[in-house]
C-alpha cells in the first residue's frame, strides 16, 4: 500500500500552503482583503492538517518514498511588491493550492477504493474548502490583473 506516500505529500503541501498564505498576508498588509483572507485561509489549511492526523495515524506518513522530487514546491519565502507583485504572489498561491487540490483528489480515489468512510468524510470537507480557496484566488487575480498589467506604473 502506497497511500502513505500521498498522505505525506498532502500534509506537506497543506503545510507549505498555510505558510505561504501567512507570508502573503503579512507581505500585503496594504491590501486588507488579501491580508485578512489569507490569514483565514492559512488557518483553514492548518485545520486540514489536524483533520488528516487520525488518517495518517492509521496509514502512516511516509516521507521517505523512493520517488525523488522532480518538481519543487517549497512555498513563498518572501513576497513581492506592487500591483504585479501582488498578482504573482497570488498566482504562486494558486499553484500551491492546485497541488493540494489534486493531491486531495488522489487521496479520495484511494479512500474510495478502500471504502474508508472516515477518510472520505475528511476529504469531503477539506477538498471543498481547497476548491473555494482556488476560486477565491482566481476571483481576486482576475480583478487585479487588468489594472496591474495595463494601468499600473
Amino acid at each position: 500500500m502506497n497511500l502513505n506516500i500521498y498522505l505525506g505529500m498532502l500534509r506537506q503541501a497543506e503545510n507549505t500552503l498555510a505558510e505561504s498564505f501567512r507570508q502573503v498576508a503579512e507581505g500585503h498588509g496594504a491590501e486588507p482583503d488579501v491580508h485578512f483572507l489569507c490569514r483565514t485561509l492559512a488557518a483553514q489549511c492548518d485545520r486540514h492538517g489536524e483533520l488528516l492526523h487520525p488518517v495518517v495515524q492509521r496509514y502512516g506518513d511516509n516521507s521517505s518514498d523512493n520517488e525523488p522530487e522532480r518538481l519543487h514546491a517549497q512555498g513563498l519565502a518572501t513576497t513581492r511588491n506592487g500591483p504585479v507583485g501582488l498578482l504573482r504572489d497570488l498566482q504562486d498561491l494558486y499553484l500551491l493550492a492546485s497541488l493540494v487540490d489534486v493531491t486531495w483528489t488522489m487521496v479520495k480515489q484511494a479512500g474510495s477504493a478502500l471504502r474508508d468512510k472516515d477518510l472520505l468524510a475528511v476529504v469531503d470537507q477539506c477538498d471543498a474548502e481547497t476548491a473555494t480557496q482556488l476560486r477565491w484566488l482566481q476571483t481576486r487575480m482576475k480583478q487585479a490583473a487588468p489594472q496591474a498589467l495595463v494601468a499600473a506604473r
Binding site: A30, E31, P32, D33, F36, L37, R39, T40, L41, G82, P83, T132, Q133, R135, W136, Q138, T139, K142, Q143, A145, P146, Q147, V150, A151, A152, R153
Partner: protein, 834 residues
Amino acid sequence: MVDRIANIWGTRTPYSRDGLWPVRVDQVLDDGIAEGDVDRWVQSACVLCSNGCACDIAVKDGAMVGIRGRAQDLVNHGRLGPKGLFASRQGVSHKDRLRSPLVRENGQLVECDWDTAMRRIVDRSRDLLAERGPLSHGFYTSGQLFLEEYYALAVIGKAGIGTPHMDGNTRLCTATAAAAMKESFGADGQPGSYTDIDSCDALFLFGHNMAETQTVLWSRVLDRIAGPDRPRIVCVDPRNTEVARHADVHLAIRPGTNLALMHALVREVLAQGWEDAGYVRDHTVGLDGLRKAVEPWTAEAAAAVCGVPAADIRDAARIFGTSDRIVSTVLQGFYQSSQATAASCQVNNLHLLRGMLGAPGRGVLQMNGQPTAQNNRECGADGDLPGFRNWENPDHIQELAGLWNVDPMTIPHWAPPTHAMQIFRYAEQGSIDFLWISATNPAVSMPELPRIRDILAKPDLFLVVQDLYLTETAQYADVVLPAAGWGEKTGTFTNVNRIVHLSDKAVDPPGEARSDLDIFLDYARRMEFTTLNGGPLLDWTGPEDAFEAWKSCSRGRPCDYTGITYDRLRGGSGIPWPCNEDNPNGTDRLYGDGVFPTDPDYCESYGHDLLTGATVGAQAFRAQDAGGRALFKTAPFHPPHEEPDEDYPLRYTTGRTAYHFHTRTKTGRSRPLTDAAPRAWVEVAREDADRLGISEGDLVRVTSRRGRIEVPARVSGIAPGTVFAPFHYGYWDTGGRPGVHPTAANELTLTEWDPVSKQPLFKNAAVTVEKIGDATGPAPAPTTTASRPTAAPGTTPVPATAGGDGAQATETTDTEPAPRFPDASKNALDGGRP
C-alpha cells in the same frame, strides 16, 4: 404646533392591525409666511434619508419658503421627519453655496467660468485616455443624485470611457442590502413593503436604529405600538436606542458578532421544527448546507460569543418561530459590520424557512441608508450593471451594447466592477490618475481618514469634485463644479421599498450652479462619445429624455419602469416598481408566488462564497438548478479581525443621530438641527465611565491604531465595553482640517470590507478611552435619542433637547382618508395585480 426637535416622531395616530395608517400632514412655513402667501406648491420627495417621504415645496418669489408632507402618498401619509422639515430647503438655501466653478491655480482654488473648468477636465481626460487608457479613470458618486443622473453617469463610464472603476458612497450604505438579495433571491429588489408594518404581528430590527435613521417609518411603527394590537418588537443593537426601549426582546450584542447570533436563531427555528416544510421544499434550495452550518450554534454558544443571555436568544427565536406575520428590517448594524452579507442573508434565510415573504405583514426590508441609493444600484453608476444585469452573462452585456449601440468590448465586464475601497487603493498606487467625485464627501465618510486625506492630496491625482458646498473633499480638488441641489432640478428617485417619486424643479439654482445631469451631459458632449453609427452616445436634452431612455434599459428586468411616466408621477402617490404591462399600477410586494429571479439566464448574479467572496460562476450556478427557487446561503462565523486587547480594550462603533445626515453638508446648515446636535461626542457606558474616571461632558481622547478623536463624553445606556461616536462631524465648519481636537469618527475606523458586498466596516474597531479634560457642561449630544444620558446619582440632570420657536411644525390629522395601494397612484388602472 408641535416642537419637532423635542418630539422627533410627532403626535401619535394609533391604528390597528390591517388598518390603514392615518393621514397626518406635517408642515412648516418660514417665519412670516402664511399659507395664503405661497405662490405655488411644487411636488417632490425628501432626500435626507432612504425613506422617501413625498412632499410639496412652498415657493414664493422664486424662493423655497416651506414644506409639507403629501397626504396621498403611500410612503409617508403626509408626515415628515425633523430633517425634512428643517433641513430640506434650509440645507440648500444657504449663503455658503458654491456659485461658480473653481480651478486650482498655483495651489489655490479660484473662480472661473464653466468653459474653463470643463475644458480643464476634458483636456486631462483626453490626455490620460490617450496615454494610459480607460483604467486611469475612476468615478465615485453618491446615494443622493437622481435616477437620470446616475444613468447618464453609468452610460458615460461604461459605454463612453469603458472603465470598470465606478462606484458610489452607496457602497458605504447599501451594498450589503443588494448583495444579500442577489445571493438569496438571485437579484436585487426589495421583497417587502412598508404596508407590511400595518399587518405584522412581530417586527425584527437587525442592526437598524429605525427611530433615528428613518424617523417617519418609525412613526408608523409607534402608531402600531400605540394601537390595540401592537406587534412584538425584537431589537438587535448594542445601544439603548428608542427601538430597544420599545422592544420585547433587546439583544445588545457585541459589535462584530451578528453572524453568531443569526446562526443561533436559525438553528433554534430548525431545532424546534418551526420551519414551513412545504414552503422550503417548493421554493428553496440548500437547506442541508444551512442546517450543517448552524448546527454548532446553540443559544448558549452564541450567548458566549455575543455577550447576551441565552434565554433572550431563545425568546427572540420563539417570537420568530411562532408569530403569524413577521417583518424584518436590516441596516448598518449588519451592513457595516463583520461578515455583513452572511449575516444579512441569514435574515433572508429565516424568512424563507418560515415562508414569511410576499404576503401582507410577511416581508423583509433590506434597508438603504440614502434617498436614492436604490437608483444607483438600478442604473449602474455603482458596482452593478444597469437594470440588474449580470456582468458574468454575455447575453446581458450584449443587451446593453445593443441598447447603447456600442461595441460590447467597450463595456467592462471581464471582472466585477471595481468597488469604492479598491478605487481609492488604485488612486493611492497611482494607477487611477483621474477621479471624479460627485455629491459625496469621502474626506469625512470613508474609513481611516488619515489615509483617505493622503490619497486625495496626492499631487498626481487629478481630482474633480461636484457638490453644493466646498466640502472637506472639495478642498483637495483640482476642479470644483457647483451643482444644483434638491428643489433646483427635476428628476426621479426610488426609495427603499421601490416607490418611484418625481421631484420637480421649484426654484433656480444659485449663481451658475448646474444640475448634475447637465454637467454629465456637457462632459459627454465635449468628450465626443459616439455610438457605432457615429451619433452622440448621449443625445438627451433633459431629465425626461433620460428617464425614457432608462425605461428602455429597465424593460423586462426586475426593476421594470416601463409603465411609469413623469405625468403619472405628478398628482398622486409615488408608484412601486415593477410597473409594466403585467403590473400597470406597480407592485406592492415581490415574491407572492414564491418564484425568485434565480433563472440563470435572468439572474443578476451567479453568487459568491460568503466567507471569501469567491465567485460561484455560471457553470456551478446552473448545476444548483435553482430554477426560480431561493437559495439558502451562509458562511461559518469568524470573529472580527480587530478585537479588544490590552492596549485597545474597548469596542468602537459609529453611526447616525436623528438630527443629522451624513457629513452635515445640509443638516449642518439648519439652525434647529445644529442646535439639537451641535458638536461631536462619544458615548460611554456608565460602568466604563466609572472605571475610567469619566463624568458626563468630560473631554476624552479615543484612540485606535489609526488615529484619535478628542470629544466630550456622554455617559449613556450603551452596552458596557462598547463606545459609540456619530460620524457626522468633519471639519468644514471648524477650519477645514482636524486641528487640535479631531472629531471625525472615521479617524479611528479601519480599512476592511465585507468579502461579498465590499461594504467597509464602520461598526467594529478596538479603541482605548482616556479623560483629558474636565467637563464645562454636558456633552453636546441629544437627550431624545439613543444618546440619552444615564444620570449618575446626585448629579444635575442634563437639560432635555428641545427646539423652541424655530422648530415648530403643524400636524393636521383626519383631513382625508389614508392612501391605499394601488388606488393612490394617479390614473390607477383596472386589472393590476396588487
